[in-house]
Symmetry: C2
Subunit: 383 residues, 2 copies
């Protein structure tokens, strides 16, 4: 069996990641590892009401997605982006992960260069590798050149894993550079609606619509089980992506699209979003306060204004993969930084999610983690 | 934009197919084209009941699929296949189309040979082309050699497009040849439950489990909007496929998996299946009788014992792509045979679906089609 596997297999199916996620999902562990939303934030009542009344749509959807849903999303984006977005510029995908897969399949040839941040969302790295992507790193806060790259990938709001957000000025700089380089930007924005205070700046897609494929998801604003992603791009790009999607899964579920449409039309949905933002905002504050209280000097972390993640950077001598082994022994899980590097080189950083652990768990978990860090730093000094 | 597309794009996104499906879905057309189930067969009441009561599961599913659903499917297959099938030998996919994509991605390198029938399910051809498959044709009713092929693809029950079914003996011959050649068989079985009289023979997967990846779907026995496919293979293969699926869409909807589970557990489900078989059996009989009544000499067709399709073969001089242009003018649609050929060479055959048209439409549509065929044959004689 092993000998029959495709060459790409080793690149796209790293068992360390799967094992890591399995371990960190074990009961009794305080997990800061998962990038999943808290079940208590799900709009359970809205979903239950949405499944009542009119029978659900059980047939195939068009590959591009149900027109009424695309129109509703287009209307919302038109208001927020201060430019007209039409339903034919929108494709519904089976989660935003599929959108990344679809973009890779449609655009990438072997050895095409893809610009990614270091660190970046690791599953994007896997999926684009399936199409032979070669990665070059770019710092989106001060990019030097985008020339020579077919695609570029950015999470502009509350980045996974760092939690950082690009400023309005940075977005404008990137938009200008894209036009000059002829590079196509994949702007992945699953967390943009989860802002704690002010709404983040308009996406790069609203400034450079011809150079950008914008991707977002219903997983974090509604629930992952919808498996609904949204792609926004020029109509000619959407048409091509839809054709390619046909071979991947024919279409996305008309049932979950129909339920999502009703939830979005429900007047209580706005209230749901407000609660969601407050919920994650509270969790983030608890985590940031615990970090401040317990972490020793020499440890730095980001201060996310939205999303689900804090990025902690320890002194360079610490390998967070090793730290994670010890943390698991103490029943605390996070994701070590090397996972998010296209080079997979060792990292002294780590990602903490504040999404699913309770406030108490966050405090206790950070305290445990901080004492492990202190031990590690003392150990490092002894050497 | 065009210049940025991947080389594979032309192979995997043939606009003729998309356009064909768009045309044939226009109102006012008697369509024998679509491979989609009849909405009146959907278990609407069972689905409505399944969404009531216990709240739906809104979180991410494990990539392999919800355990309870996999256990239920494993139990059913164990009884039918007369061998033990375990839940770890089962992977839930986002429709069976995704399963084909996943298998291609996991196993195919550029220029690997894939054995396919001529004709075969055309979307399978597209999706495997994305991974560089080179096709060789095989007659599954009397295969000569499977040597040198990485994968082989068969629809063993009520084939798409021919409606034909492999006999028990043919299945055993194929199972033996697979072992000798070391070729991995993808046995695609979306229609096996839609038998009109006797259940078809056990799948090749039940005879050669180590050589076969079996794929089936909930789209035809429940409804397409579930977007649920099932893969059955050795546990080591399933584990590899699940890892690769992570990069494609993370997981399949826990919501639709949960609803499907409840529908399967509903005692009325057996009755639903019986009605479904009767419904399609009646439609098939109407179509076969109409063909017999209207078609001129020299036209042959298959006599499916299940599924959704009849395959009609006209005298070799007829190009069914041209016939289809004329048929559309008369508001009748089918799928011309060349679509189902890996060579895309012209064909004198065509696929008729009896699934969605009403009995009356079937009679009228076949009468129109037959008169066009007669005209065409007279025209051919004049030349």
């Amino acid at each position: 069996m092993e000998s029959r596997l495709a060459v790409r297999y080793q690149q796209i199916a790293d068992p360390t990641v799967v094992k890591l996620l399995e371990i960190t999902n074990q009961p009794g562990i305080i997990s800061f590892a998962g990038g999943i939303p808290a079940p208590e934030t799900f709009p359970t009542e809205l979903v239950a009401d949405a499944t009542r009344g009119t029978p659900l749509n059980l047939q195939y959807s068009s590959t591009q997605g149900i027109l009424e849903l695309r129109e509703l999303v287009a209307g919302k984006l038109s208001r927020e982006w201060a430019r007209q977005v039409n339903a034919n510029e929108i494709l519904i995908t089976s989660g935003s992960q599929q959108a990344l897969d679809l973009i890779g399949r449609t655009f990438l040839n072997d050895d095409d260069t893809v610009l990614v941040e270091d660190p970046t969302y690791f599953v994007a790295l896997y999926v684009l590798s399936a199409y032979g992507a070669k990665y070059q790193t770019v710092d989106w806060h001060k990019p030097r050149s985008l020339a020579g790259a077919k695609l570029a990938y950015v999470v502009s709001n509350y980045q996974n894993p760092t939690g950082e957000t690009l400023t309005q000025v940075q977005r404008q700089v990137i938009a200008t550079m894209l036009g000059e380089a002829g590079t196509l930007l994949v702007e992945d924005d699953p967390y943009g609606e989860l802002y704690f205070g002010r709404r983040p700046p308009r996406p790069i897609a609203s400034i450079a619509p011809k150079q950008t494929i914008y991707v977002t998801s219903f997983s974090k604003i509604m629930a992952p089980a919808f498996r609904l992603g949204v792609v926004v791009a020029e109509a000619t790009v959407i048409e091509k992506l839809a054709r390619v999607k046909t071979g991947m899964d024919l279409c996305t579920s008309a049932m979950t699209q129909g339920i999502a449409l009703r939830v979005l039309q429900d007047p209580r949905y706005t209230e749901h979003l407000i609660k969601l933002r407050q919920y994650y905002g509270r969790k983030a504050r608890v985590m940031l306060m615990a970090l401040k209280q317990y972490m020793p000097k020499g440890v730095a972390w980001t201060h996310p204004q939205g999303g689900m993640f804090v990025w902690v950077t320890l002194p360079a001598c610490v390998d967070t993969a090793q730290l994670h082994e010890r943390a698991l022994g103490e029943k605390v899980a996070f994701v070590p930084g090397y996972i998010f590097r296209s080079s997979k080189e060792k990292s002294s950083s780590l990602r903490l999610s504040f999404a699913t652990a309770s406030g108490e768990e966050i405090e206790r978990g950070i305290e445990i983690l901080a004492s492990l860090v202190k031990q590690t730093l003392r150990g490092g000094e002894r050497k």
